[in-house]
Symmetry: C2
Subunit: 213 residues, 2 copies
DNA sequence: GACGCCATCGGGGACGACCCTGGTTGATCC
DNA sequence: GGATCAACCAGGGTCGTCCCCGATGGCGTC
């Protein structure tokens, strides 16, 4: 343990990797740098760095492929995405895959060093504004609102739909809404026909998809 | 527009609200402070502050109830959770409900002012380490890894479990793994017995719970 | 070699899921 | 008054689910 953070750099542009090394190599230990997904997975497993600076856009799968390749093991290696892109999809995708931060390449030397140290300490680091993408995706997700498909169902059908999707048997649904099993069958049939589904499993999937549970 | 950030304080302890006002009232505009959920929703809608400092633990629903009550409208009002708790569930819950940051009450005056300004600017602010909870929850995480329950199943049983949980019929599973329907029945029976479940719906729920799909 | 575990099958049975063809009632609309 | 539709119910059938009882062969352990 040198006391200095051990950093690994992944970027398909050798010039950029040189730049990073020149800029921060005096403040952290650059333990390796590569330009391809396959090399990255092997080398990161071998060197076990503290922090991986990860370019999001790479040939053969990009940064996400590397994160997924490293998914098991390496609990002490944090990945910090470093990209020219500030698109919400890029940010969310790479965070979902396991990155602990996301900063754009417009960052200054001091900000990058601070980001590396904070990620290493367990914090999450984002360029201002990008964090909002992640929180938006995490919090609201699809408000779904009034689903036109759902409006085509009668009240009773929607009621039965919800219960069936939760895994209740016809008999249990019947007891709960105080009608006969045959009536439940009728309602379920209507629901399946109207939604063009073929069985209750698809119905469960349909309902989960729309967060009706 | 005064140029100063307009802040609203929600906390059920009047002493704490006084403390906040005394500490940062000279640097930001405190446009209101209340101690209950209902008052908060009404007053925040009326004053439209830039940032709401929100206590997580309140009678009658807590900070989440307020966030849900404010869910519509007020796109320019950001909520910053301010709590004594550093429990992952609290953090994730309030962020999922729409808060843009979460800091603990051990924060210093300067850190709080910085957090308020950053949240107002659209950034997300977390006490170090708490951000990790959110990213873990978001990344789908739950490393689950070696589930002791899962280890008690044989390879073939786990294989069948996954397919059944996805909604395939016995016949479809049989075709997919090239065995007879009877063999699939046997495996499913073993799985249900070992996991102490009673039907495939519970099995689906069990699997989703563990993110095995 | 006996024993246990796994994977592979089978018969038979009880029950649930799903479909089809019917039927009644009551409310609403024209 | 006729047409339409939601909601309710029944009979009867096919197929899926889940259980019981078995059986065989392979493989590793003591």
């Amino acid at each position: 343990m040198t006391g200095r953070v051990r950093v690994f750099v992944v970027d398909d542009h050798a010039l950029f990797r040189s730049g990073v090394k020149a800029e921060i190599g005096d403040a952290v230990d650059i333990v390796g740098d590569v330009g391809t997904v396959d090399e990255a997975i092997l080398a990161i497993r071998a060197t076990k760095p503290d922090v991986v600076l990860l370019d999001v856009h790479l040939p053969n799968g990009g940064g996400r492929a590397i994160l997924e390749g490293l998914a098991d093991g390496l609990p002490n290696t944090k990945c910090l995405a470093l990209s020219v892109s500030d698109a919400a999809d890029d940010v969310i995708g790479v965070i979902r895959a396991g990155a602990r931060g996301y900063v754009t390449k417009t960052i200054t030397r001091e900000e990058l060093l601070d980001a590396i140290r904070r990620v290493h300490a367990g914090d999450a680091v984002f360029s201002p504004r990008l964090a909002g993408f992640v929180l938006d995706a995490f919090a609201g997700s699809a408000p779904l609102a009034s689903d036109p498909e759902m409006d085509r169902l009668t009240h009773r059908e929607q009621e039965v739909l919800r219960l069936i999707a939760r895994g209740y048997t016809y008999k249990e649904v019947a007891a709960r809404i105080h009608v006969s099993v045959k009536t439940v069958e009728t309602h379920v049939s209507s629901v399946l026909r109207k939604l063009q589904l073929s069985n209750r499993h698809e119905l469960t999937a349909w309902a989960t998809d729309r967060r009706l549970l």
